[in-house]
Amino acid sequence: MATVTEQTLPDPTFHLVEAHGHEHGSGGGTLLGFWIYLMSDALLFAAVFASFGVLSSAYAGGPTPREIFELPLVALNTAILLVSSITFGFAMLAMEPGKVRSTQAWLLVTALLGASFVAVELYEFGSLIAEGATPQRSGFLSGFFTLVGLHGLHVTAGIVWIFVMLAQIGQRGLIVANKRRLMCLGMFWHFLDVVWIGVFTFVYLLGVLR
């Protein structure tokens, strides 16, 4: 019986054959896994967006968005984050052929843009609190500081990660592990820009329209 099978099938396989080589190690699995993390992070943001949306007109007699939001400042921050997205793109393009200096330079530019984004946001928070628009003032302001602060914390984490990668590239160059980490960091950075589109639209623009 067994001999007959071996004769009719010249190359017998006793396991499920997948479409193409799936004996890969860390590469594809890491990137897909990181993507799944980003999607779950998006759901975390969805919950915070939903609570902000529910509280967005709960002013409790306090300041309304129209009174406290400065759109030119928000436009500046939006521009900074958008430019930082393309500078990270340039870092990724320099990474592929293995240009270490160029990758480091673009990463540093991205980190500085990210830091100025956080600085402008902290300045905005500071002036809001100085005006008496603190998180305790109303449900709207609690939701605002939670949502915008959560995004700002993510950007801060991204900046720390960029500096960690700069140190790792400085020590070991653009080895495969570092390239993989940079690809994850790139997804993270671009993801934060996507979240910011939601923030400036739903918090600031629609808030001022309300």
Binding site: W35, A42, A47, A75, G89, F191
Partner: protein, 129 residues
Amino acid sequence: MSIHSEANLDAELHAHGDTHGHGSYRSYLVGFLLSVILTAIPFWLVMAHPIASAGVTAAFVIVFAALQILVHTVCFLHVNSEAEGGWTLMAYIFTAILLIITIAGSLWIMYHLNSNMMPSMAAQAANSL
């Protein structure tokens, strides 16, 4: 599994259509220019008031945000049906559906709570007096 050489890993990293971060100058520049336009228009709509109705302006602002999110997804995050055998796209669509249900559902329910429940509660309070 087996011991992988560095070149082998590098090949694996690229073999599966892992197009994350593997854009071209063209895709990044196109994405950037589209994003600038799709950001500038809603800010202009809100700051310069070219449309009298706030509701119509809000609808336009939301449409531009949705378009810009799509541009970022394609040009910067490089999500397409080939990357990771289509799993990034599947996870993205699934997340988008959950996101819309969470946000729109919360707003809908809470809006109805405010507009429908409060008067009856007020009436109950009045009856109990």
